[in-house]
Amino acid sequence: MTINLKVWKQKNAKTSGNLETYKVDQVSPDMSFLEMFDVLNEKLVQENKEPIAFDHDCREGICGMCSMYINGQPHGPLEGVTTCQLHMRTFKDGDTIVVEPWRSAAFPVIKDLVVDRTAFDRIIASGGFVSVNTGNAQDANNLAIGKDKADMAFAAAACIGCGACVAACKNASAMLFVSAKVSQLALLPQGQPERESRALNMVAQMDAEGFGACTNTGACAAECPKEISLDNIARLNREFLGASISSQEV
């Protein structure tokens, strides 16, 4: 296959960028989208041109690094997959594909397609954890957790922190991410002691980072590679408003 690419090129956070056109020949339909970029970069290096900077790590859909906004959708046209799990057979020979970085005030571009997602790290650091080390894994039945709760917590815990929800949202809102992280712990016994402060602090940090407010458009859940449900956002609203009312802080 031959693929025409229009890729966002930007030297660093201070400069502005633009879309540049590339042509990639001999693309195999079995290549992943990232492998196609590897082929292109190899060619660029051989031609003494600068390769395109992009994030990636696991290449199996678990690390959340491969942030690419492909033809108007984060992680491309398929549902429930990351860019590294997207294969060139999804496209046609001769297609033109536009690839842009995540766009959000809270995710500044570092270079080309690489954005700075440490805003997510700071949100996690503000409360997305359980402070007390609870020792070794307990015997499974010591801590009774209903199957329904366990399933919901597990589904929320599937969030890989990729930021596609922010990229997809017209408000660049991080609510789906934060709601997944708050839900996962709010549903389990281990999360209870810090339940209130977690919701309050993580939302405060989310707002401080400059993400927009959620207007329930649902674009995030539609584009999330881990299919995190909008119910988590409703739960975060409950957790936050409940904690605001009931916490001892005045």
């Binding site: 229009k6 879309l19 906004y69 033809n71 108007g72 959708q73 046209p77 536009v98 842009e100 766009r103 959000s104 005030a105 809270a106 997809a168 017209k170 408000n171 660049a172 809102s173 609510m175 939302v203 405060a204 989310m206 707002d207 400059g210 993400f211 927009g212 407010a213 959620c214 207007t215 329930n216 458009t217 649902g218 674009a219 539609a222 584009e223 909008l230 119910d231 956002i233 409703a234 739960r235 975060l236 609203n237 409950r238 957790e239 936050f240 408003l241 409940g242 605001s244 009312i245 916490s247 802080e249 005045v250």
Partner: protein, 259 residues
């Protein structure tokens, strides 16, 4: 900052205010529609004109209506402010966007702005004129025994202190009500095809605003539940985005085509 200001100025708190004011306005839509259904009564406007007097003079209703005006303005400008702030969260846009959300959910501010323009026109058409202009008066004479009502428009230029004056003539067995004829103003206004079109098109904006807005408000309040959410969504679509806008749109159409 006190906990309350902190809560209400957070992103979720800002949305809470939108949801609460939005749902209040939804209840207003229901009440306003039910009251105005009296326009369809074939009684020369007797029921509607008396209702209009009640709505504008009964103290509790007066307070509620001023709260309602304030909340409409608050909802409108708070919503536009949130929309403006949200745009700042993405200073550089995408070259290509393929949306996976509904077109209504993405354009609440535009739909709302249409509603705001509509409300200004609507208020100046009827509310302002009812309160500030010399309206025609109409006299209803009721035969107390039979309940028959006779309608006679008062001569042009007739005026009285109160919106409504009621007298009973025991000898003749009649009750006479002379009242500001808002019904007539409504009926006359809706002979103008442009105004009728504007009203009907604005009801599409109501429909689209609430198609997304009604269920969205419940999500904002954290009310999402497998048992009740389908009910909320059904109510939002069939009652608030279909039935209510049709009910409102029927009024100008009724007067244009049948009066």
């Amino acid at each position: 900052m006190s906990w309350l200001t902190k809560t209400l100025t957070s992103s979720i708190g800002k949305k809470l205010l939108m949801a609460l004011t939005g749902l209040f306005l939804c209840t207003f839509l229901v009440v306003h529609l039910i009251g105005n259904l009296q326009l369809f009564k074939n009684d020369g406007g007797y029921a509607f004109n008396n209702y209009a007097v009640f709505m504008t003079t009964f103290p509790v209703i007066k307070i509620v209506s001023y709260v309602n005006y304030a909340l409409i303005l608050f909802h409108a400008f708070w919503g536009l402010y949130i929309t403006y702030k949200n745009r700042q969260a993405r200073p550089i846009g995408y070259a290509v966007v393929k949306n996976s959300s509904s077109v209504f959910s993405r354009n609440m501010a535009i739909l709302g702005t249409i509603l705001l323009v509509y409300l200004v026109v609507h208020m100046s058409d009827f509310w302002y004129r009812y309160h500030n202009e010399a309206l025609p008066y109409v006299k209803y004479t009721e035969q107390i025994a039979s309940g028959n009502i006779e309608t006679t428009p008062m001569e042009i230029g007739y005026t009285q202190e109160a919106k409504k004056v009621e007298t009973v003539n025991e000898e003749a067995g009649t009750r006479t009500v002379i009242v500001k004829d808002l019904y007539n103003v409504v009926s006359f206004s809706f002979q103008n095809i442009l105004l009728v079109l504007f009203y009907v098109l604005s009801m599409f904006a109501v429909a689209f605003h609430l198609f997304h807005g009604f269920q969205s408000a419940f999500q904002t309040l954290g009310w999402s539940h497998p048992k009740y959410t389908p009910l909320v969504k059904g109510l939002g679509v069939w009652v608030f985005a279909v039935l209510i806008p049709i009910g409102y749109a029927a009024m100008p159409l009724y007067f244009y085509f049948f009066k």
